[in-house]
Every structure is written in C-alpha cells, then in structure tokens.
C-alpha cells in the first residue's frame, strides 16, 4: 500500500477548543481542549461512555457540538463537512455496512462517493482485498462476513481515498492477530508518511505500543494527555516501569479493581 502526502510534519492537523456536548442531562464532553499534529498517532482512552466516540463524530461533522470549535486540516467540520470528509477516513465503532452488497461492491460504492477515477479505484480495491486476504470472499454478500472480515472491509473503505487524517473507533475489534498486526504496522507507516491517526481502543497494550501521545478521557473530560513518560509522571508513581493499564486505572479513578474483584469472588 503506497501512500504519500505532501503535507509537512509538525503542523497541527486537528484542534479541539472547549468542546462540549450533552445528550439530555448527560454531558458526553465537557470543555475538551486538545490538538493533534500531522503524522501523529494519538490514542484516545477512556471507559465506556467517557466521550471518545462523540469526540470522533464531532471531528467528522457527524455530531454538532453544543459549544466550542473544532478544526480538521484547517476546516470546521460543522460548517465545511464535505471538505473535511474528503480528507478524513473513518471507521466507526460498529461498522454499518450494506449487507445486501458484496465486499467489492461496497468498496466500489465508497470509492464512487469519494469520486475516485475508475482506474485508480480498481487498483486500490484490488490492493486492499489482497492485503487483507479477502479476494476469495470479495464477491460474497457482506451479510455472510464474519466480524473480522467486516472490520477489514471498513478499514479498507476508510483508506480508499487516501485520507490525510484517519479516525478509527475501536477499529481493531474482531481482527485476527495477523490482521491486527497488519493494521498496526500500516498505521505506523501511514503516520510516518504524514497521515494523522486518531484511534480509540480498550486494548491498552496496543495504545502503549504505537501511540506517540495518549489522551485519557473520563466522564467527558480530559484527565490526562501526553507521551507515556509524561503520563507516568502524571500518575505520580515515581517509577518508569508502570504500565499504561496502571496509569489509566490510577487517572480514571478505577484503581480499586482489586477490591471489586475481591467482593465479587467472596463466598
């Protein structure tokens, strides 16, 4: 998968300023500020309901914030959604594919929506089908695909227009170890070529392994942000061998896991 972007590194690709979003009386996001550089892999961590998916949807213009402002590659998704979506690839938490299309028809559909010329489309679709070992099922209806196969198609669709920013919401869910490795390596390679990657995951080892910076969200607010070493300092452990899991639990106030396990297993 050859991939080059002319954009210079160290520029800011994504800015998030005082973003708030509520659903009824529940604040999904509350005054969130952050920025992501071009070519950076940013991990978003947080418990279920911490606001990760809402933030990602706001970045794509799928959800409008109540307050604050977001820019993606200099465009405001709330007012220039088409310009943003031309340059952003997105894999939702649960990919909603059209089950009545075949894998190849779905990729063809997404490529057409992005206006990719026929010859380029053909080359890229074959490239992704081959990379994810989906050629033999390419003409099967998506309704017959396993979770992992659907995820591969969704990831391929997010990359097909060669986006400058990639937003992946739990994109490694359901992937077999080999494909997960392919995706991880692809993300690293894409980032080195200037693509900005923002991805959420519950698998903390993956975040620790590939993310340059990590943002930890809790109840709609950022509780910590930085590189692994910065987070270790923030967690006030004083030790450098602390895992991201320990840091996460410490910063999100869920470090009483042992007590909960104890209570659950008490006879």
């Amino acid at each position: 998968m050859s991939y080059t972007t002319p954009s210079p590194l160290n520029e800011i690709a994504v800015t998030v300023e005082r973003i708030s979003k509520s659903y009824g009386t529940v604040w999904a996001l509350n005054g969130v500020n952050t920025s992501v550089k071009r070519g950076e892999i940013r991990g978003l961590l947080g418990a279920n309901g911490s606001g990760k998916s809402t933030l990602m949807k706001i970045l794509l213009g799928l959800v409008k914030p109540d307050n604050g402002r977001v820019t993606v590659l200099g465009y405001d998704p709330a007012f220039q959604p088409i310009l943003v979506r031309q340059n952003v690839g997105y894999v939702p938490e649960t990919p909603r594919l059209y089950d009545f299309l075949t894998g190849v028809e779905y990729l063809d559909f997404v490529a057409d929506l992005h206006g990719i010329p026929a010859e380029t489309k053909k080359q890229r679709i074959n490239e992704y089908l081959s990379a994810f070992e989906l050629q033999s099922q390419a003409n099967d209806l998506l309704s017959g695909y396993s979770l992992g196969m659907r995820q591969k198609i969704a990831i391929s669709a997010s990359l097909i227009h060669r986006p400058e920013v990639l937003i992946l919401d739990e994109a490694l869910n359901g992937l077999d170890p080999k494909t997960a490795k392919i995706v991880k390596d692809t993300l690293v390679k894409l980032a080195s070529s200037g693509v900005t990657v923002i991805f959420s995951t519950h698998v903390l080892e993956i975040a620790q392994a590939i993310c340059q910076r990590i943002t930890i969200l809790n109840k709609g607010a950022i509780v910590a942000e930085g590189t692994m070493s910065e987070l270790q300092v923030l967690a006030s452990s004083g030790t450098t061998d602390q895992s991201l899991e320990d840091i996460f639990l410490s910063l999100t106030g869920t470090s009483d896991v042992r007590a909960i396990v104890e209570e659950l297993t008490t006879r």
Binding site: K64, R85, Y90, F100, V110, L113, H114, Q135, S136
Partner: protein
C-alpha cells in the same frame, strides 16, 4: 415413521411458535401462550360458535326469511374447505415471510435423528394445532345451520374435505418453507443473478397470491362460478372440494365422490412433494463457496452519461438493495398485486380500465419506493454521512431508483395495454409518456416525504417511514397526481378532439415538470437539514 418422534417434534415446533411470538411481550401474554391454553380456547370456541349458531339457526328457521337463508348457508358450506385452506395458507405465509425466529427449532432438527417425512408431518401438525381455532370455529358455526336447514350430509362431507384442505395448506407451506430454506442459505450469503431473479419472482408470486387470497372479491368471483354444473372450476384444485359438496347437494353422487377423491389425491400428492422438497433442500445445504481469483474490474455504464459518480453510486446501491433485500420485495410486488386485484375484481373492465388504473399503479408503486428510500438506509446511513456528499447528489441519487422502477412499471403496464386492449395506439402512447412523468413526479415527491419523515429503526422490523409520513404520503400524492393528470384525463374521458388531447397532455406534462422541480428543491433543502447531523 416413528409417531412418538413426530409428536415430540410437533410439541417442540408448537412451543417455539407460541414462545417466539411472545418474546418481549407482557407476562400475561406469556402465560396464555401455552398449548394447554390453546386447547381450552379450541373447546371454548367450538362450544360458543356451535351454541350461538344453533340459537341463530333456530331463530331464523322459524321466520319467513328461512327460504332466503337456505342458498346462503349452502354457499358457505360449499366454500368452507376452500376458505379454511385459504386462511391457513394466508396465516402461514404471513408467518413465514415476515419472520425467521418462529421456526428456530427447525435448525436443531437438522442434526437430530429425524427423517424428512417425520419432520414434515410434525411441522404440518404444529401448524394445524397453532391455527386449529380457525377450522374449529368455521365448522362449529356452520354445523347447526346445516342441520337446521337440511344440509347435514353436505356439512359432513365439507368437514371431512376440510381436513384434507388443511393437509393441502400445510403441505404447500412446507414446500414453500423447504424452498425458502434453500433460498435463505443461498440468497442471503451469496450473490448470483439467477438466485436473485428466482427469489424476486417467487417473492412477488407469494405476495400476489397472498394478497389475492386476502381480497374478498376473489372469493366472490369464484362463488359466482361454483354452480351445480360446476363450469370451469374443475381447473382450480383448491375448489375441487367445493365442487364435490355442490355435486352432493345437487344429487350428483358420482361427481361428488370423484371430486372428493381428487381432493384426497391432491392432499396426498402435495404431502409427498413436501417430504421430497424437505429431503431435497434439507438444511444445512452443502456450502456453495465461490473462490474468485479474478481481480476486480469496474465497468462503465451508459448511466454515467446522465448521472455523476456519486449519484450513480447511490442509485446502483439502492437498486441492488431493492432487488436483494427480503423486506423490499413487497414494494416490487405492489404493481403486480394491483394488477391481479384489478383483473380478479368483477366488473373491472379489463385492459381499457387498466389504461387508466395504470396511472394509479405507477404512481403508488413509485411513491412507496421513494418514501422508503431514506429510512431503508437504517443505521447504514452513516456511510452517506461520512462521505463528502453534496445534498443535490444525495437527492438525485435517491430519486433515481424510484424513477427507474416507476418507468419500468409504466412500460410494462402500457405494453400490456397496447397488446391486449382495443384502445388507440396514440392514446396508449401519450398515457405511457404521462405515466413516465408521473413516475418522475412521485419519485421526487416521495423522496421529499421520505426525507421529512424518515424512520431508521431496524427492529423489531424495518419501518422506513414514520407513521405521520405514511399517513400524509398517499393523500398528498393523490392531490398532486390528480391535479397533474386532470388536463389529460378530462380531454380523454370526455372524448375531446385529438388536438385538444395533445394540449391536455402538454398541460399535464407542464404541471408534472413544475411539481417535480418544486419537490426536488424542497427535498434538497430537507436533505440539507437531515445531513447536518447524524440522526441515529
């Protein structure tokens, strides 16, 4: 055949039917959905229907209206086996077409030591028990009347033949189920044009038959031809039982016996076919995995001259959805259902009537495809939201599929009219062009309504359009379509000179174009609102 095994499978299937339909409902419903309650209900219905009909029959017998009631009761007894067959078939089709969970236990049966004949017998029995209240109510209600009006022997024959009608109905359902089992394995997991065409045709046929059976004038139509000399009804196997009873009443014993035996033979043949179909299409079928080594190569189409890439992508996707999704078949079946009903209804006037009725068929079919187009996206609409899609492309892409299908329906209907009716080619020609215009108008209007009232919910079943949307769609379409067609229809119906008809046609086309343009513009503004924020 091991009858103990048959009974075990019957109980399991019956329980799965009863419990599947009570999932998520109140605990009271769960309580009453039990086989024992079903049996009690049967007894109550039998006693109530029998008792009430006895009182009614005695009351009528003593009045002067008695002689007027005699032929009515006779007709009911005659048609009884066919009605019971029709109702059970209809109910089974509703159950089969709309739900897959009802027969979940049949999957387990596949790896249990149960033969095809045991399974078919059990399945037919479970259907009979599930719908037992229908024949019991019908037979009990007619029993007393038959005795009072001297039709006892006819009722007895009708009751016996009703049992065989039930076997016919359940066997037909078993055949359909076996075939649908194979279809669902092959259609929904795999592509394949032949399989898709076969499913569409069979789906449409099933719905046309279902709707026709449901339509009361069809029975009225058949009742009219069931006479003692039985005319052409011997062509219709489901009416053989009626011919037998009619012949008995007319004192033609040999014919009565002949058609009674034919009914029994029909039941036996269909039961054998059901067993064969079950063993032939016994799931799980061997997988038909297609190993495709051919690289993907996009094809260019003529449509790309008219539509841009994004519009064409949406249109292609929607056409595939309409042809491949099980729940969309009802939309495709709609014009066929209307055509069937218009021909089966007495006094419809045949094809000259169809030339006018064609507008209604094209308009309503196009409208329903269009209003469903937005909600039919379901949660997958996020694919359109995350794409760099302009609202204009979205509206045109979404309106294209109903325009295509509306035009196909118009072409098919007016081709039939041109072939079979005596109307002038000129009139048929301008009616066809006006119908294409109506398809265009209804597509944009339907898309506008679909955008304003979408329903993206996918469970418990896909709705596509909100209740208010569905309520206003038809009246609004009727007003818009009526205004648009009035110049053409007025000049045609009142036999104006040809030049005036052309003017009428021109006026209709002008109104259609204005209405289509306005609908498109409103739809664009509605799409801007809808696409501004993910609705689900």
């Amino acid at each position: 055949m091991n009858f103990r095994k048959v009974w075990v499978v019957t109980k399991s299937l019956l329980l799965s039917q009863l419990r599947a339909t009570s999932v998520g409902k109140s605990s009271f419903r769960s309580l009453i959905r039990r086989p024992s309650i079903l049996a009690i209900l049967d007894v109550v219905v039998m006693v109530a229907a029998g008792g009430l009909s006895y009182l009614a029959a005695r009351a009528i017998a003593g009045t002067t209206y008695s002689s007027a009631f005699q032929p009515l009761i006779q007709n009911v007894v005659v048609i009884l086996p066919a009605i019971i067959l029709g109702i059970i078939l209809l109910m089974g089709l509703v159950l089969e077409v709309s739900s897959g969970a009802q027969f979940a236990s049949s999957d387990t049966v596949n790896w249990l030591p149960v033969t095809a004949s045991e399974y078919v017998t059990a399945s037919a029995l479970s259907l009979l028990l599930y719908y037992s209240v229908i024949p019991i109510a019908a037979l009990s209600a007619t029993f007393s009347f038959s005795i009072v009006f001297g039709l006892g022997p006819a009722w007895l024959l009708a009751a016996i033949l009703s049992l065989f009608s039930v076997v016919v109905a359940t066997s037909v359902l078993e055949i359909l189920r076996a075939i649908l089992n194979r279809f669902s394995s092959s259609f929904y997991k795999r592509g394949g044009k032949a399989a898709i065409v076969l499913r569409i045709v069979s789906g449409i046929l099933v719905l046309v038959i279902f709707q026709s059976l449901f339509y009361p004038t069809v029975y009225e139509h058949f009742l009219g031809v069931i006479t003692p000399n039985f005319g052409p009804t011997w062509f219709v196997p489901i009416l053989w039982s009626s011919v037998s009873v009619t012949s008995l009443i007319a004192g033609n014993g040999s014919t009565a016996v002949l058609f009674a035996l034919l009914t029994v033979a029909l039941a036996a043949v269909l039961f054998s076919v059901a067993i064969f179909a079950r063993s032939k299409y016994w799931v799980p079928m061997q997988p038909t995995i297609t190993i495709s080594s051919a690289a993907y190569s996009p094809k260019s189409t003529f449509a790309s001259v008219i539509l841009n890439q994004a519009e064409l992508a949406i249109a292609k996707k929607d056409v595939r959805g309409l042809l491949r999704r099980r729940e969309m078949i009802r939309l495709l079946a709609m014009p066929f259902v209307f055509l069937a009903i218009s021909f089966l209804s007495p006094g419809s006037g045949g094809f000259s009537f169809t030339s006018y009725f064609g507008f209604f068929i094209v308009a309503l079919s196009t409208l329903f495809i269009a209003i469903s187009g937005i909600g039919a996206e379901g949660r997958s609409i996020i694919n359109l939201y995350q794409a760099p899609l302009k609202t204009r492309d979205f509206v045109i892409g979404k309106s294209t599929t109903p325009i295509i299908f509306g035009s196909i329906f118009a072409a098919a209907i007016y081709l039939l009219v041109a072939i079979f009716s005596r109307s002038q080619p000129f009139q048929t020609g301008i009616f066809f062009l006006a119908a294409i215009g109506i398809a265009l108008e209804m597509a944009f209007l339907g898309t506008l309504i679909g955008l304003r009232f979408p329903n993206f919910s996918e469970s418990p079943r896909s709705q596509f359009i909100s209740q208010s949307g569905s309520l206003i769609a038809v009246p609004v379409a009727a007003i818009v379509g009526g205004i648009s067609l009035s110049p053409l229809l007025v000049t045609t119906i009142f036999n104006f000179a040809s030049s005036y008809r052309v003017v009428g046609f021109g006026a209709s086309v002008a109104i259609i174009l204005v209405a289509s343009f306005l609908s498109f513009k409103f739809a664009e503004s509605q799409a801007t609102k809808l696409l501004s924020q993910l609705p689900i």
